[in-house]
């Protein structure tokens, strides 16, 4: 009995039979998933497989129309979901930003801590120091005072990771953090993510459609197709060429550049 409850306690994410629907389009069809504390879970699959939707179910940005989800013991779709989001860091895909936006890199990193600070507390010296340390850790301290809209894709993603570090979450969600950036920047970012995992023993969910950008630290893989979990298991077993070819509908699994270090395949 004790053993069972300990195993359940260690599960920081539990999704049971989750269905997400965007008007006429059902993005997730009855997905069930459990993630243990400190686990590094990879989620791969072709475009439109429901990978991003699965991540947004975890932080409550997507609502289940059926099924249940609990993250860190809380239901993310209920009122007060914003309190849960302070504990779930989310790095979204690179988006174009208005180059004239009136916010600096240092300020946007500090936004990571705003949710945790609550309504009436202002960031103090300690918080600004943490934001500066996060920028240093991701290697863009020299960009601290640059406007956010004037960054390259790689710089933008590093800043997004620094923001999540400033947030100090218990769960990290990465949605194609290396998409549309050059191979060198991709490898640096992957190294950085794995370093954060080693350092913080944090739970991480990592989404990619490009197998060349799957981190080595990824222990378990979820293969998604047509809004369903198609296969799930240890990464070594899931990275079977025949399985991957079937996942990508008979096409060669996408690998956009030859991996060199810190990568899974």
């Amino acid at each position: 009995m004790d053993k069972v409850s300990t195993a359940e306690d260690a599960r920081v994410i539990q999704i049971e039979d989750g269905v997400v629907s965007y008007r006429a389009n059902v993005a997730l069809h009855g997905v069930s998933l459990q993630v243990r504390e400190g686990e590094f879970l990879g989620i791969i699959g072709p475009n439109g497989a429901g990978k991003t939707t699965l991540l947004t179910v975890v932080n409550g940005l997507a609502r289940l129309v059926r099924g249940h989800v609990r993250v860190l013991g809380v239901e993310p779709c209920r009122r007060g979901a914003h309190r849960l989001r302070t504990r779930v860091g989310y790095v979204a895909q690179v988006k174009s930003v208005d180059p004239r936006l009136p916010i600096s890199v240092r300020e946007t990193v500090m936004v990571g801590a705003y949710g945790r600070l609550g309504w009436f507390r202002r960031p103090g010296r300690r918080h600004w120091r943490q934001a500066d340390e996060a920028l240093e850790q991701v290697g863009v301290a020299h960009l601290a005072h640059r406007p956010l809209g004037q960054l390259s894709g790689g710089e933008f993603q590093r800043v997004a990771i620094a923001r999540v570090l400033a947030q100090q979450p218990d769960v990290f969600l990465f949605d194609e953090p290396t998409a549309s950036i050059d191979p060198q920047a991709q490898e640096d970012i992957l190294e950085l993510i794995q370093h954060i995992h080693r350092q913080n023993h944090a739970t991480m969910l990592y989404v990619t459609h490009d197998l060349a950008t799957l981190p080595k630290a990824c222990e378990r893989l979820v293969l998604m197709k047509h809004g369903r979990i198609w296969r799930e298991g240890p990464a070594d077993q899931m990275l079977d060429e025949r399985l991957l070819k079937a996942l990508y509908n008979g096409f060669e699994p996408p690998r956009q550049h030859a991996p060199t270090r810190g990568l899974r395949t």
Partner: protein, 283 residues
């Protein structure tokens, strides 16, 4: 000395009132304008101004305080636009456009139904800052203080939502509450400033100073201060121009704000292109 001041006050009380109204309207309209401009919701100001206008005309028609009508209609318009654009069924532009056309229709309906002379009703088109009353001044100053105070208190939430709403949502900021708060502040500001500045001119005072400030800085704090400064400058310079050349005050205020915007755009550092220099020669 004291007698001189009293005589001056007696003679020019209307001008002092107008300057005070210009200060309050300039500050509050420009501050909410920063949110409207940065979030690319410029049409929102136009729509709320017409809603306030329709509400004021309803007040004239049914003989209750037009300010109350303006407040109810502008807040109701924001309460409709907010969920319509939030739900994503319609783009914000379309939802604002639909509410705008509805308000315009209602405004003309109430104008047609209003009894007697149309003078009071038409006054809401271009405003009457030179005949501003003590009650108007009280409401204007309370609104300016409220908008500035709320911004000071919730600056970090406003900054996060205005600059990147999705990020704000994902880090746990109650974005909907902050967004609706900003919409309501815009509605209240426009409604309260309607009588002084006028329904046709008010959105220029919301838009132009903030758009001018947007051209000049990458810091939201500086943008807020600059926008408020440009708002007050437009009002005071417009009033001075109106007094000196005997021109309509509302039109002068708006034209001044347009000139401020043109100058800010002409000297905007955001347009500057870094000078190219050849790389140093290597062996």
């Amino acid at each position: 000395m004291a007698t001189d001041w009293i005589t001056f006050q007696d003679q020019y009380q209307w001008l002092l009132n107008a300057a005070a109204a210009g200060f309050c309207a300039g500050v509050s309209c420009s501050l909410v304008g920063v949110f409207v401009v940065t979030m690319h919701l410029s049409f929102l100001g136009v729509c709320i101004a017409h809603a306030a206008f329709a509400g004021a005309l309803m007040g004239v028609w049914l003989r209750f305080d037009p300010l109350i009508g303006a407040l109810i209609f502008s807040l109701a318009a924001t309460a409709v636009i907010g969920p319509m654009s939030e739900r994503g069924d319609l783009s914000p532009d379309t939802s604002i456009g639909i509410v705008f056309s509805l308000m315009l229709g209602l405004a003309f309906l109430f104008l047609g139904l209003a009894p007697g002379s149309r003078t009071e009703a038409l006054g809401f088109f271009w405003g009457s800052i030179l005949t501003v009353t003590g009650q108007d001044l009280l409401f204007l100053s309370i609104t300016a203080l409220l908008v500035a105070g709320l911004l000071l208190l919730f600056y970090k939430e406003v900054q996060a939502v205005v600059c990147h709403r999705e990020v704000a949502l994902s880090v746990g900021i109650p974005v909907t509450l902050v967004f609706y708060g900003m919409l309501f502040a815009t509605g209240a500001t426009i409604a309260v400033s309607l009588r002084s500045i006028g329904g046709l001119l008010i959105y220029s005072l919301v838009l132009n100073p903030a758009a001018a400030a947007f051209q000049l800085t990458y810091s939201l704090k500086r943008m807020l201060v600059l926008a408020a400064f440009f708002g007050v400058l437009s009002c005071w310079a417009g009033l001075a121009g109106s007094y000196l050349w005997d021109l309509p005050a509302g039109a002068c205020i708006v034209l001044t704000s347009a000139i401020v915007f043109a100058l800010a755009t002409a000297f905007s550092p955001k347009k500057r292109v870094k000078k190219w220099e050849p790389p140093p020669a290597t062996d």
